[in-house]
């Protein structure tokens, strides 16, 4: 975990309110893993004060490039979306524990399910799993057609099903209606109701879910993002989403 003054090298809008930003720093390398996140400072001033946790969408360890995809909906992410190539972006990272990319073996099937702004970290995951000979399938859900992104990019790794809640693009409805039961692993990132619905997916080898939570420090010190542990009768046991997660095995924490 380190603090880096990176350089913004590219930024573009890729869907409604959705931006893709690429930053460079010589220390961005293979230590940045799928499912981890970075904590981004969007201004040198004090409004907004806190950093923004943004998932890692892709890393090119040779070129030392980090790609993030985020939704510009609040003040901080809107300010980030206005930053142009050449400016410095202050990052903390890589933070948290990502998806267990070493677990699936060559020939295993992995089903990757993303919801909205939970889709980006699955891109890097899909790429890494494919490299290891894992067969990947994707179901990516969005609210509406104008919010859909990276459909072609995911297709490079395996079949993609896109769903929209309003039915304006792809399959109508939620991602959960598009799942088959054949995968060895399920990896998911998205809103809590979606993760709860996926918790009991009958994967033969493992279900891993990436959680979202409001964060303060992002490094485990402030205890803002805690969640209860399943089966803990004392009510005192907890995990921190920022530093113990954001990826947990299904059944570990209360969603």
């Amino acid at each position: 975990m380190k603090q880096y003054k990176t350089e913004l090298v590219a930024q573009k809008k890729i869907a409604a309110f959705i931006f893709e930003v690429v930053v460079y720093h010589e220390k961005i390398d293979e230590r940045f893993q799928p499912g981890q996140f970075v904590h981004v400072k969007v201004t040198s001033g004090s409004d907004p004060l806190l950093r923004r946790p943004i998932s890692i969408c892709h890393v090119d360890p040779e070129k030392h490039l980090l790609t993030m995809i985020y939704r510009a909906e609040g003040k901080g992410t809107r300010m980030l979306s206005e930053m142009v190539p050449g400016v410095e972006v202050d990052l903390l990272g890589p933070l948290g524990n990502g998806f267990p990319i070493e677990s699936p073996k060559r020939g295993d099937t992995a089903l990757l399910v993303g919801g909205g702004i939970g889709v980006p970290p699955l891109y890097y995951l899909s790429r890494e799993l494919t490299k290891r000979g894992v067969y990947v399938k994707h179901v990516n859900g969005f609210q509406t057609g104008s919010a859909v992104f990276y459909e072609e990019e995911f297709k490079a790794f395996g079949p993609v099903t896109v769903t929209t809640v309003d039915g304006s693009y792809g399959e109508a409805g939620f991602v959960t209606a598009q799942l088959d039961d054949s995968a060895d692993y399920l990896f998911a990132c998205g809103p809590s109701p979606m993760l709860r619905a996926l918790e009991s997916y009958p994967a033969k080898k493992g279900v891993y879910l990436s959680l979202e939570q409001r964060m303060g420090c992002g490094i485990g010190a402030c205890l803002a993002c805690v969640c209860h542990v399943q089966g803990d009768e004392t009510g005192l046991d907890y995990r921190k989403v920022c530093s113990d997660g954001p990826v947990f095995q299904a059944g570990e924490v209360v969603l």
């Binding site: 004060l49 939570q213 409001r214 420090c217 490094i219 402030c222 205890l223």
Partner: protein, 313 residues
């Protein structure tokens, strides 16, 4: 670094900069960024007799130049702090200020009695001002009689000096300061967070699960400066100032108001290197002001004889 060295009851500080309680855990996370030995002291997370889970999430909400939190004193409890956290902190050459919290006077006494026996705990910070717990917390810090009682009770058992953390959520901060001074407090830390709330425009409900929370960050600095300016003129015990400290300039302002040391809270979340950055920047600030030792700045906003130009240093 001698021009930054500060002596306070129980505390021989290499410099007057320390992370504030609740904003630094027990230092483990920040030790990944820098050597904790650089700090003047560490005010560790509030400790209660029994472990506490704290409040439901969401526990933080952002505000203009500040943040609201309602963590609810989550901590692993006295046993764990004594057996694991404080011994780990002993690997660093830095005095610890243990923040003591409770729901009853007996709780405060039990924690204070035992935690003050830890070899690296050089002072206690009595937390009678946490706005995020139903019983204890703020109730102790806003009623003069109970603030007096709990301070006195803790003073009787503590083996190290006791600093009382004052709440800004009172009508008369000077009265509260005088009351705890009379009860035997060796120093004050001020201020704790201001009670606040934010409403989510989408749901129409408060963002924090707890409803209200404690406001911290740069937004509260003027409130703290005003209160320290008032209180420091009315008490004889030293004040550790806090609230929105982000820079060496902020530290100097706190000293001018009447503080003798300064704690950094929310800024640690914004930039984990805030404390060492401030410590590095302070000597140049003193040079710029023509000041030899940082302690010369304490209270100079109300000490009429002060004249920067004619400073003897």
């Amino acid at each position: 670094m001698s021009r930054l060295r500060i002596q306070l009851p129980g505390l021989d500080l290499k410099n007057p900069i320390m992370p504030a309680s609740g904003c630094f855990g027990f230092g483990r996370e920040y030790s990944q960024f820098y050597k904790l030995d650089q700090l003047g002291a560490i005010m560790v997370k509030a400790t209660t007799n029994e472990p506490r889970f704290g409040n439901p999430t969401p526990r933080v909400a952002e505000t203009t130049s500040g943040m609201l939190n309602a963590i609810g004193l989550q901590n692993p409890g006295l046993d764990h702090v004594m057996n694991h956290e404080l011994p780990w902190l002993e690997t660093f050459d830095v005095p610890i200020i243990a923040n003591v919290a409770g729901s009853t006077i007996e709780d405060y006494v039990a924690v204070a009695k035992r935690i003050s026996t830890a070899p690296n705990v050089h002072a206690l910070e009595l937390n009678i001002s946490c706005p995020n717990v139903k019983e204890g917390g703020l109730a102790f810090g806003t009623v003069p009689e109970t603030a007096y009682e709990v301070t006195k009770a803790v003073k009787e058992v503590a083996r190290v000096p006791v600093y009382v953390k004052l709440s800004p959520n009172v009508t008369d901060i000077v009265q509260m300061a005088k009351v705890v001074e009379k009860a035997g407090a060796d120093g004050l830390t001020m201020i704790n967070t201001l009670l606040g709330m934010r409403i989510d425009l989408k749901t129409g409900k408060p963002i924090l699960a707890n409803g209200a929370g404690g406001l911290s960050g740069p937004a509260i600095k003027p409130v703290s400066i005003r209160m320290i300016h008032q209180v420091s003129q009315q008490v004889a015990i030293p004040i550790i100032g806090m609230g929105g400290v982000q820079s060496a300039e902020d530290v100097v302002e706190y000293f001018l108001a009447g503080a003798s040391a300064v704690a950094v809270g929310t800024a640690n979340f914004v930039d984990p290197m805030t404390c060492p950055t401030i410590i590095d920047a302070l000597p140049a600030m003193l040079d710029e002001m023509g000041v030899g030792h940082i302690s010369e700045l304490t209270g100079r906003s109300w000490k009429t004889e002060w004249n920067l130009q004619s400073s003897s240093h």
